[in-house]
Amino acid sequence: MTAARDVIRASTLLRSVVLVLVVGLVLLVLSDQMSAYRDLQLATGAYYFCVLAGLTVLAGSSGQISLGHGALMAVGAYTVGKLANAGWALVPELAAAAAVTLIIGIPVGLACSRLRGPYLAGATLAFAVGLPALADRFPTAFGGENGLTINPPTPPASLGVNFPLERWQAWIACIGALVVVFVFYNLGRSGVGRALRAVRDDEIAASLAGLRVGRWHTLAFTLSAAAAGLGGGLLAVVTGTVAPGAFPIQLSLTLLAGVVIGGLGSLMGAVWGAALLVLLPNWTNDLASSFSLSTNVAHNLPLAIYGLVLIGAMLAWPSGIQGGFRAIGRWAGPTIASSFGRGRGKTTTVVAGEPSTEAPAAASVAIPPAPEAGAKTPSES
């Protein structure tokens, strides 16, 4: 028993395989028990998770934020839309969605690797506003305002005639999400992850150590773009339609809200964020109908809450839900904290959950902290 545990501890690859299998099994059982509607929510959460995982890896391991991930989702979704209509099978078209977005991500990442803070935010924001307009400009290729329609995937006959489509979609989306978990989990604990964190924590020290800062930033952006593309492709598969209206600037801001409230830098945080993005519109709808609010109010309530979340998080709780859990873990005692912190702590220190002794209010989501503060930020082992 202990020997087996030691082996699992020693090998990141093995640990990630176990993790993916266990989570996959839980999701399988869960999806089997749930109604079609809940399955659809699970599918939605799974594709949001892919994008949020990409964002959180970007922010958490290289200290960049992107407001362009809504547009990158559009790239993935349109790829799936075009290929599905050209008769491609599901797996290759999803792989192509990730690949195409990855390729698009290279020039964007190259451009962004030189930018910092507000410049980066502004450039990616312009990307998010500008890109979906291409669909309007080339209506024959991208279907204009109405976009493309995709036939829903058919569950294999071996699952039975009455197998609900939503459950099949949930399975597809969850497998996509698990692939993302597998890749990012291993990457975060490899030389690549360490290099990215070194670049994030101190660019100058990292470049003195021989790391090409710009290249690592570009790599982080590209990987995160691929995850966003996969998420967008899954969105196309789940919703059955791709239109520019599905990727407004609000989508990018919503994603940002999700990743901030989940806590930047941890995959677990991306899970919380995805759950929030799926459940919040539901809750606010229920709330609106039980208080008989007008449709204007009901439609805009989730957006208002995302806005409040972003503002409140920056003012009061910069480490998000996952950071809060970790704080509770630390408070509850060293034993629990260490068992929770093990492994996970390595990727998640980013959140700067531990504000150094100076100014706790300045606890940063901002990963490369202000230069002065940078020297004092406890760097991880």
Partner: protein, 292 residues
């Protein structure tokens, strides 16, 4: 040829509006080193206020004045309530905060006025001038836009260069510690900077509203383009912002005229990327080392 002249003229008029938005962003950047991504939402909100005043029977001038005043107040409130705590935090916190503010204001506007865009009256006639039998696309309203922006830019230049208040504001922005020692109320100056910026922003909203209509999301491209103009000018320099706005106005007018208006935001993005690749801090900014 007529088309080229038309595009040039309308480029100047829209460039004036971009210049105003860029000025609003630059004013805030100078005073607090924050890019106010909520600017687009703030000017949208004040334009909605003007629209509401006009709809309920007020005159255009009254709506105009109310919008400017509410912009001034909104800017001051935003700075005091939400921006003050992050002024010394890492830059990303302020970015996320202003984006949250953007989201919140857009949602509130949608709750109050709905998401369907409505029309907005222009100050002057929208019929083009006729010279020697040819009617140009430049209208009396465009003349008004250009004149207003010139007056505002001149007034700001006068304020910052020739008045004691402007000197105190500059002192508070560039050397807060020293300014404080000399008796300048630094916090108050920063609030004033935000209020002035929001006022200029709401002016831009009023000027552009007749052509984009008033809706919660109708001003998003204006913000992006204003940001690009501000970056073109170096984010730090008001004259740079005005020049950036005009250059961008002309460039985008040609793109829109010859390639279609859908490409305008994308063209702005391309220009932004090219400029940032050549000069990562903008064309007019003094070069500065990133501090270690």
């Amino acid at each position: 040829m007529t088309k080229f002249i038309d595009l040039t003229l309308s480029g100047i008029s829209s460039g004036a509006i971009y210049a105003a938005v860029a000025l609003a962003l630059v004013l805030i950047w100078r005073s607090t080193r924050i890019v106010n991504f909520a600017q687009g939402a703030m000017l949208m909100f004040t334009t909605f206020i003007a629209s509401a005043v006009i709809d309920s029977g007020g005159s255009y001038v009254l709506g105009f004045a109310v919008a400017l005043a509410s912009g001034f107040v909104l800017g001051a409130i935003v700075e005091r309530v939400v921006i003050r705590p992050v002024e010394n935090a890492p830059p990303l916190n302020a970015v996320i905060l202003t984006l949250g503010l953007y989201t919140l204001i857009v949602a509130i506007a949608g709750m109050i006025w709905g998401n369907t865009p409505r029309s907005f009256p222009a100050a002057f006639s929208l019929r083009g001038y006729t010279v020697g039998g040819t009617t140009f696309l430049f209208t009396p309203n465009d003349t008004f836009i250009v004149l207003v922006v010139i007056v505002v830019a001149a007034a700001l230049a006068f304020l910052f260069r020739a008045t004691s208040l402007g000197l105190r504001m500059r002192g508070a922005a560039f050397a807060p510690e020293v300014a404080r020692l000399l008796g300048v109320r630094v916090g108050r100056m920063l609030t004033l900077g935000w209020a002035l910026a929001a006022l200029v922003g709401s002016l831009a909203g009023l000027l552009v509203a007749p052509s984009v209509f008033v809706g919660p999301n109708n001003f998003d491209p204006i913000l992006i383009i204003g940001f690009v103009a501000a970056v073109l000018g170096g984010l730090d320099s008001p004259p740079g912002a005005v020049i950036g706005g005009l250059v961008l106005g002309l460039a985008l007018s040609y793109v829109s005229g010859y390639e279609g208006s859908a490409l305008v935001p994308l063209a702005a993005l391309v220009i932004l990327i090219i400029v940032l690749m050549i000069r990562p801090t903008g064309l007019f900014a003094a070069t500065r080392e990133r501090r270690v």
